[in-house]
Amino acid sequence: MQRPNWAPDDIDIERPSVARMYDYYLGGSHNFAADRAAARSMMEAVPDAPLMAQANRAFMRRAVQYLIDQGIRQFLDIGSGIPTVGNVHEIAQRAAPDARVVYVDVDPVAVAHSREILDGNPDATVIQEDLRRPEAILRHPDVTRLLDFSQPVAVLVVAVLHFIPDADRPQEVLRTLRTALAPGSHLVLSQASDESRSDTGQRAEAERVYRRTDNPLWIRNRAELTVFFDGFELVEPGVVWVPQWRPESPESAEDAEQAIFIGGVGRLGG
């Protein structure tokens, strides 16, 4: 984080990227050998890893649909990764053609890829920034150009916080974001949890795999994630296993704890 502004990022495709590993879990081919090798190691340790990625992706889809139904038309998706299958702007703009979306990611390859996908879409763009620099995100010209912070905005920090250790002060980051938001804005959070898992070996192995990336894992439980909604009113059903969050059918919420991810949606009152 202390890298000087003028120092460019290093592009090293020999190093696994969490964005491309996630793409692999989702069945995509936007990944390189190093990403696949790391993802396969992860799947050996945690065979449900693809399922959890899918469940998390489905949670995001339902959350965006919910937000559209609430009248939200502006989305700030921080840690968007490789927005291939079922990305926010597709879901949002299909439901509401006037919806505007700004993606934020720290991974330069993910950003370059997003830029290609969004080429020609005047209402969606991507910037390269770090969640840990919320002020830089909020004052980025592309963000201020596309999003009107005097109107409600949905901020999505989905499947990202488990890469942010407490030392990086995620709560302060979220507070900074919150203070920029108008009443009626929403916050969508999800992250890996190990509350359901008694097998600590799995967690240790998962942590070992992610140490190969730039983003080591930082697991949190439900109480810890709930704290991040400070200042927001949690929308029903609160912070839950992601398949339990407003499921489309009762069956789809079965074995929800297998999903490993917990998540929720908060609304800024006032």
């Binding site: 460019p8 495709i13 936007h30 693809p50 079922g86 370059a112």
Partner: protein, 608 residues
Amino acid sequence: MASDDSVGETAAGPRHSSRPGTFARAWAKAVSGTSYLPMTQAQLEALLQRLTERLAAALRAEPFDPRVGHQVGAELVAAHIASAEGLGRTVEIIQLRLIRDLGLVADDVEDRMARLLSTVTTGYARALRDRTLDEQESIRRAAMMARAQAERALRDSESRFRHQATHDPLTDLPNRTLFTERLTAAIGEPARGADRVGVCFLDLDRFKVVNDSLGHQVGDELLVSVARRLRLALPEHLVARLGGDEFVILVERTTRVDDVVQVAEAALAAVGEPVRVDGHELTVTASIGIVERPVTGTTPGELMRAADSTLHWAKAAGGARWSLFDPERHRTELARYALSAAIPAAIDRGEFFLDYQPLTSLRDGTVLGVEALVRWRHPELGILGPGRFISLAEETGLIVRLGGWVLAEACREAESWSGGPTPAPFVSVNLAVRQVHRPGLVQEVRALLGRTGLPPERLQLEITESTMMSTAEEPVQALRVLADLGVRIAIDDFGTGYSNLAYLRDLPVTELKVAGEFVTGLRAPTVDPASRTDERILASLVSLAHALDLTVTAEGVETAGQADRLRAIGCDAGQGWYFGRPGPADRLLGRAPALSTAAVGADGPAGV
């Protein structure tokens, strides 16, 4: 063929689908979770219902059309049902349930089913392969773009870094680094026809006043404005800021010094334009040192030192002007500098020594005292008189050390003169302003007297009027203590300086030494009006001194006539070539003073 209604399927065509039937729902369930499907379960079922209808139609169609299977396979992939598991389960469910759930009947149904599955899997595999390749290409392109962007950012940052390293942040002018690079290149690798080079070293006059009175903010804005005006006025030359209010202009490919003079005049004009800074109308001037010379035989350092000296000449001449480098003057200054730098080591090596000049009584011709005069036996330049180095030592502050040495040496030598038949003369030592103003003078003199055993009354300290011009109390206090000890205090060069008689009231002065220029007038015939004026001044000074109980010594006495007239006035003592040139103590004290009227002759003061 079974009734379509029984299973909720319809053959109405691909454009219009009915509600998902049993088969489509089972299919949807089978492929759920095989990969991420960006749709709701209902949307998935609707999609699969549509595909089910097409498969059913294909099974019935005559003749069998393989393209339908290919399309269904491709559509599955397009809908992201695009995993190995997704294909496996699709094949399984079609094989197991399609015919049964749809109630399809045909003679060759098994045969048709085999062909249908073959075409679906073929279409699926083709589409998945294409999609995989497309995605690989797309992510590789993204990596390349990201890398290209990173490299561009690196280049940008390098050039930005280079700019930062070579430019002054305040004015954005090139800085010393870039200037030195360009000057070094101009001298080291001159282009064809660029065998001469010039620089203008520019410094604002009294810039400190602006800074001190209007604040640094205004000072900085003024510098920015000066920088802008210089750059505009001299677009074809490199204008750099070296720091502070120092700017330098590199003039390449000169043919003669006039080329650089023109640049300097343009620069002075540009700087001199009135400018409005923060509500203040400011007009500043500048001084410029100009050096122009062939590139061969010079170095950047030498050129810049020359320009720096030249700038100081322009400053010393009052500023708002340029000065041209003068090698002779530069050499002199360098020599002076070298001389002053050599003083401390010369003291350590014992290169200084003292000569003495007698202060002779006009009444009886006895040598009352001697003035110590410092000499430098320079290893290369020979013996140097005080005129060559005292002012340098005063400028640099070395005078304190050198003066201390002179005082100590004079006391040491003078002590050895006693013991003769007549009283030994006192020794008179000049004290520089800095010595007088230094705390610790009293202790120094007291310690010297204690160490050498010289009686205090045989030491005379000569100070100039200007030494006393300062209003500081400490020097007066120190001199008073010394006078109380018995040390003689003389005012040197009396009558040429400030001549404020008030200090005579405060100071414990013993003697006035009247400057030689009054004495010079006495050489002329007494009828010369100027000479008479000098004589009257001298007479007044003598009567004033006597009224205050002071003795008077006239300096610069060169003739017997002058001595006679001084004696007639009542002057107490004389010093000058007529009485004796400066020389070593033994020679001086061993021979008679050349005094025409006094009958001391060879019996002069005691020998050593």
